[in-house]
């Protein structure tokens, strides 16, 4: 298994392959429902949000829970002003949130970030696959968090 990821374009593709064996197909000895699924989420940002993100961040994107055990809101979230921030988190995960490179394509990741930034916030500039590749190749660190914020 690759020990150190350098996020060139090829490395991003390689990471996708590496991660395929993990979240959708849980690792060593983990309990699971059955044979692996090849289900896919829809392509539009709205579909990806409703089918994936809403499981934790809720349909209104307002998150939930109390201080100390919280799922952060995506709606009205100032961290999303910088589009690199959500890209890094979707590529690498943070806290209890997994990375999504194993179940979403770069197109889906770009589309859902564009949707969340534009629909639940007022950041209208789109996120593109080129943005995803840029983050993949520069490999910035995951922003530190109080993960419930």
């Amino acid at each position: 298994m690759v020990r150190k990821q350098k996020f060139g374009l090829l490395a991003l593709a390689a990471m996708t392959l590496v991660a395929t064996a993990t979240l959708s197909d849980p690792g060593f000895a983990q309990d699971r429902g059955g044979p692996k699924s090849d289900a896919a989420a829809g392509d539009s940002g709205k579909e990806v949000f409703e089918q994936i993100c809403a499981a934790c961040h809720m349909a209104d994107a307002k998150g939930g829970g109390d201080v100390g055990a919280r799922v952060p809101a995506l709606a009205g979230n100032k961290n999303l002003a910088n589009k690199d921030y959500p890209i890094i988190i979707l590529l690498k995960g943070r806290g209890g949130m997994p990375w999504f490179t194993d179940i979403l394509t770069k197109q889906q990741i770009a589309a859902v970030i564009t949707y969340v930034r534009g629909h639940f916030n007022d950041y209208k500039d789109p996120v593109t696959v080129a943005d995803i590749d840029r983050i993949g190749s520069t490999n910035p660190p995951v922003p530190d968090c109080n993960c419930g914020h």
Partner: protein, 534 residues
């Protein structure tokens, strides 16, 4: 096996004698190593309860979390002489060891369900089956008097459904299994007979392989997998054997190679071959939470419920934990000499905890998988009466992943609960994102593929848990990768000062109760060593 030690030193000791000697000389760890070599204990790292004793008088331990890891810690540390208190976030004990029944309320983020199952019916939203080699769980079930019954894991008469195979019509797993090995055997036999493997296998092995393929694949005299009485003896019949004039069975058609491959049945065959999925499996009679209740009967008096930890600090003299009472809002503080923290990483990563940056990084690098379970109460056991299915799972490539038929109360009258969904991954996210009502409706739609006439007609009520929306954990269980194990695992499990973490996330048995218990025993053993040396 009560051989006395042989007086004749020239006679090699028996295995038992040798193990006794090794155990006396090297302790439990050496004994375990030796037993593994002899093939006795390779199934488990469990070598018996830890037998801790001799805690310094007045020594205190604070345990955070009253799931199985926390309650086992408290149980064994109390026996060792420590004074223990447990702080628990929820109003109940047990953690993910959890069963819902009629009259219970399920509080997810954003919704509340009132469960209306009939008396005796239940859903295990978390763990639900115990492999025979999870020796720690089985040991404590026995020690605490939890009645276990068989869990029907493997059932050839269940269905398999794949949207792209057989026009989306579910097939019996038995038929697909027999077809699959029949076709594979035929193809291997063809390759062998064509000489394609003559440089790979010896002539002697080739002859054995041909015999094996004929037997294993139930091939005919031409080494082909075809319809016939022999295949019928594995695959079942169009007309089963009977008595009298029409006693002779009539075999059915076999599936062709392309249809068989389209079902991806090898995935299901592989699933049942995994060590943790192999039979024999068990379940506590009446619900998985009987294990948590049995622990609570021992240590429940030590638990302060509705106590939400906000800060964990330590210094040379002890640990201090700040908390808020979820009912009254009052702030409080607890002190102890030592701390066992079983708070899941999803929540622990949001708390102020006084440990090294490396341990904090490990806690925050541990994402949790998501899973959903949906219990569907049906008016009658139509899967038994109408389909001859007694336990086991029917798998599908739809979001629900499976439906699983209940073990226990076979042939019973009245309503019964089947498991209507248990996915991880995309299917789980998609279902979790729905309201409980929509989730149950989706499960009824998708599960109808297996039992179209009965599934909706016999439905009475449902209950569901989306783990990502359970406010006390915000996920199902820890997801490690080889990379994150290399980078963070030892930092996560190391004892730092007076604090040690425990739980399934601190084990190589992620998502299993066995991992939680093994982690707990390891953590308290190290804690006791450090406390004894202090």
């Amino acid at each position: 096996m009560t051989d006395p030690i042989s007086p004749d030193f020239l006679v090699p000791p028996t295995r038992r004698q040798l193990l006794t000697m090794i155990g006396k000389a090297g302790g439990a760890a050496a004994l375990y190593q030796a037993m593994t070599v002899f093939g006795h204990a390779a199934e488990s790292q469990f070598s018996g309860p830890p037998k801790l004793s001799g805690a310094k008088p007045g020594s205190t331990v604070l345990v955070l979390g009253a799931g199985l890891a926390g309650m086992l810690s408290a149980y064994e540390l109390t026996k060792a002489g420590y004074k223990v208190q447990i702080l628990e976030f929820q109003g109940r004990t047990g953690g993910r060891n959890y069963t819902v029944r009629g009259g219970d309320t399920i509080n997810e983020l954003g919704s509340t369900q009132n469960v209306t199952f009939a008396p005796g019916n239940y859903l295990n939203p978390g763990p639900w089956r115990i492999p025979y080699h999870h020796r720690t769980v089985l040991h404590y079930c026995k020690e605490l008097g939890v009645e276990l019954e068989h869990f029907a894991q493997m059932n050839f008469n269940t269905f398999a459904h794949n949207k792209a195979a057989y026009g989306g019509k579910p097939q019996r797993y038995r038929d697909l299994y027999v077809d699959y090995k029949g076709h594979v055997a035929e193809l291997l036999a063809k390759s062998l007979n064509a000489g394609a493997l003559d440089t790979t296998v010896t002539a002697e092995d080739k002859a054995k392989l041909l015999e094996a393929m004929k037997d294993w694949g139930v091939l005919d005299k031409n080494m082909a997998y075809t319809k016939g009485v022999k295949v019928g003896e594995q695959r079942g019949w169009d007309r089963p054997p009977g008595g009298g004039v029409n006693g002779a069975p009539i075999p059915g058609e076999v599936g062709n190679l392309s249809d068989t491959l389209s079902t991806k049945v090898w995935q299901e065959i592989g699933f049942y071959a995994e060590h943790v999925m192999q039979t024999t499996m068990f379940q506590p009679k009446g619900g998985m939470d009987h294990i948590g209740k049995a622990f609570a009967a021992k240590v429940g008096n030590l638990v302060r419920v509705n106590t939400r930890v906000t800060k964990i600090a330590q210094d040379a003299s002890g640990v201090t934990v700040d908390w808020t009472d979820a009912k009254t809002g009052a702030a409080g503080q607890s002190h102890a000499d030592w701390l066992v923290c079983t708070i899941p990483a999803t929540v622990l990563g949001q708390l102020d905890i006084q440990v090294s940056d490396a341990k904090k990084a490990a806690i925050r690098a541990l994402p949790y998988g998501n899973s959903v379970k949906i219990g569907l109460e049906m008016k009658r056991r139509f899967w038994e009466t109408d389909y001859a299915i007694y336990g086991g799972h029917s798998f599908t490539d739809q979001d629900i992943s499976l439906i699983s038929y209940p073990t226990g109360n076979w042939f019973g009258d009245g309503p019964a609960v089947l498991l209507g969904a248990y996915p991880f991954g995309i299917g789980a996210y998609r279902l979790a994102g729905m309201s409980p009502e929509k989730r149950i409706a989706a499960a009824l739609d998708q599960g109808s593929v297996f039992h179209p006439a009965e599934y909706k007609a016999e439905y009475l009520s449902g209950a569901t848990v989306a783990w990502s929306r359970m406010p006390w954990i915000l996920g199902c269980c820890a997801t490690w990768t080889e990379e994150s194990r290399d980078k963070h695992y030892q930092d996560l499990v190391s004892m730092e000062g007076r604090i040690v973490l425990a739980g399934e996330h601190c084990s190589y048995y992620g998502c299993w109760q066995e991992g939680a218990l093994l982690s707990s025993l390891d953590a308290i053993t190290r804690l006791h060593q450090r406390a004894s040396a202090a």
